[in-house]
Symmetry: C2
Subunit: 383 residues, 2 copies
């Protein structure tokens, strides 16, 4: 019986993870759940999965839970402090980090510090603190199990293979909703249009990242840390059907790919059952019914966010931190209709250019860089 805690249990990844866990009641025990503000859903989840501990974002909501559930849930934490405490507890086998954005970094660090394996959906953890986390990981002999479909695909293709015989990772990307939209109309993209993703049902931040293709850029950075490979050996290929989830090319030119319908439940489950494939009765994969898979080169001119991400990782150190926080804030501003779609990469680039770079930032330096970027972006967003 694997003991699991889930951060972000009411979000897109969290709810799907609980669906997976529900299918294998003999294999998993939910120890803890954390949610932001969706108290109604969190209460439902508590009633169904009986975690020992829950965490919610503020004290008033935590009182609500206690009043609603009484003895069913005694241990109710709250706020950022509660979340960080929960993430560092070593009474679980796997912590699934389904948090969205930069807020996910410290919980990952806390879990890895406590020697807990992390099923990592929060891509910002490695983008912000890849150096810190991989160092802690090696020191504490901790695994990071990727949840993202692309990284899960690569991870599965690498099974049984020698890292030194990997020539190239090939990340696939759907190209997002604007693959065929003329570049000169990008400045008039609406929030509604950007939220309409053709294949994947995801949270709104990630869906916008998919529209700008920053998502793919962040994935390149994450893959570089996860699989210890330089970004120059990571390519992107656009694959609108999202059936091939990613590929690995080996030194003899042999390419392995992992395929499936675009459904996060397979990679989520694999991150919890690794190295095993647990039997499920999901829809049988049928390539003949799909009929056709297409592929094209990514357009770096049309989607400058990808290029910014490659540049950030090549420059290294503090650059990915600034890229990531600036992106978080630019996307948030776009979702609030404060800036246009094309201003997202422009503002990120300005932040990267303006910051004082740091070689190998530690956690405090990362926090300072985050804070600097926050203030820089706020001044630009107000100005």
């Amino acid at each position: 019986m694997k003991k699991i805690s889930i951060l972000g249990s009411t979000g897109s990844i969290g709810t799907q993870a609980l669906e997976v866990i529900k299918q294998h009641p003999d294999q998993f025990k939910v120890i803890a759940l954390s949610a932001h503000r969706n108290i109604r859903l969190l209460i439902e989840q508590i009633k169904e999965f009986h975690p020992d501990t829950v965490c919610i974002s503020d004290t008033a909501l935590s009182e609500d839970i206690k009043n609603n559930l009484g003895k069913m849930c005694n241990d109710v934490l709250y706020g950022r402090e509660g979340l960080l405490e929960l993430a560092g507890r070593d009474n679980v086998d796997i912590l699934l980090n389904g948090l969205v954005g930069s807020a996910g970094m410290e919980p990952t660090i806390n879990a890895v510090t406590s020697g807990i394996d992390v099923a990592l959906s929060n891509k910002e953890s490695l983008v912000l603190a890849g150096g810190v986390i991989t160092q802690l990981q090696k020191k504490n002999n901790v695994n990071i199990f990727p949840v993202d479909s692309e990284h899960s695909a690569i991870w599965q293709c690498l099974k049984g293979e020698k890292p030194e015989q990997v020539k190239r990772l090939i990340l696939t990307g759907s190209g997002g909703p604007f693959r065929n939209r003329p570049t000169d109309t990008f400045s008039s993209v609406t929030v509604e249009e950007a939220l309409r993703h053709p294949n994947w049902n995801m949270g709104s931040k990630i869906t916008i990242d998919s529209a700008t293709m920053m998502n793919k850029g962040l994935e390149v950075i994450e893959a570089s840390w996860l699989f210890e490979i330089q970004v120059k050996n990571i390519d992107i290929v656009i694959h609108p059907q999202s059936i091939i989830h990613s590929m690995v090319e080996f030194s003899d030119g042999s390419v392995k790919a992992q395929l499936g319908y675009p459904d996060m439940k397979i990679p989520i489950q694999y991150s919890l059952t690794y190295p095993d494939h647990a039997a499920v009765s999901w829809e049988q994969f049928d390539l003949a019914a799909i009929g056709q898979l297409t592929f094209e080169q990514p357009n770096f001119q049309k989607f400058p966010c990808i290029k910014l991400a490659y540049h950030a990782m090549e420059a290294g150190g503090s650059y990915p931190v600034v890229l990531n926080v600036a992106n978080d804030m630019a996307v948030d501003a776009f979702l609030r209709n404060s800036i246009s779609f094309t201003e997202i990469p422009q503002l990120i680039e300005k932040a990267m250019e303006a910051h004082s770079s740091v070689g190998e930032p530690d956690v405090d330096e990362i926090k300072e860089l985050m804070s600097w970027t926050y203030h820089f972006m706020n001044s630009k967003l107000k100005g």
Copy 2:
């Protein structure tokens, strides 16, 4: 340094294997070569690779070699007897069996009996004697490394995975040259048309098998033995571009595939370098340049040979033996313009129906069944 002997060194697989070996002079030493009648090419190969031993099909040719090469090649075997002796020698690490047709079975058995790992291109070995060979293999702790692109793909996808978590093998097939040809014109197919394969450059027997799709049927049987999985859990999907070489579906619905350009050099090399991927400078794989991959269901009505192969393996025992020998002879007759294209499956079916079935034939019984099928087919072909 791996010591290699190659049966069928002047054939399609043999010549490509020697090209592979030439690229890695530090990794391989050619110990023995066997050829049928192409003495000119065999002499070139002897001059280049300096094998200790060669074998050619008759004594007159063996004298030619001795006269031509003198001391360069002292050990010259000939005939069927020479071939079988060579195959059973245990002075090599891997025997690459690149023989075509039923003649390849006994050399595989001899190698496995002598405890030698076999890189197996000859699909008839397992189709005819899968039971015998897998039993000997286990007894002598011998590996069979698949050379066929489909089986190599499956083998690569299974690396690091547990056999009990495999749900299904999915063999891809180009569909051959007649995928889009109307069924009612099949009786007028010419030898020239059937030899024109769209993707793969192979020997003539295998190219005809590809046109009838018996090739895919034999591969299903071979996969069943190689990977110890029932044929009901092996599916075929038609994939005209021959880029995805085959797939494995696991119990969680995750599918792994192996991809590459249609070039036998990758699977040949992998069969010799396993478990490693040796570095080579072949053309970099580019899915965006390929652009599109398509898939469709196989048409069992149009290509009855596939159905015959499934039936033979489901019936088991002697059925695959009769299927295989009848196919060898029917293809040979078609290549000699003695029978029409549509008579190939008809004659095979007749032979399967007419024979007295045997449960788990041993080598002698397999030879008797082969002989019976030979005489049966000859009577039909003359009649």
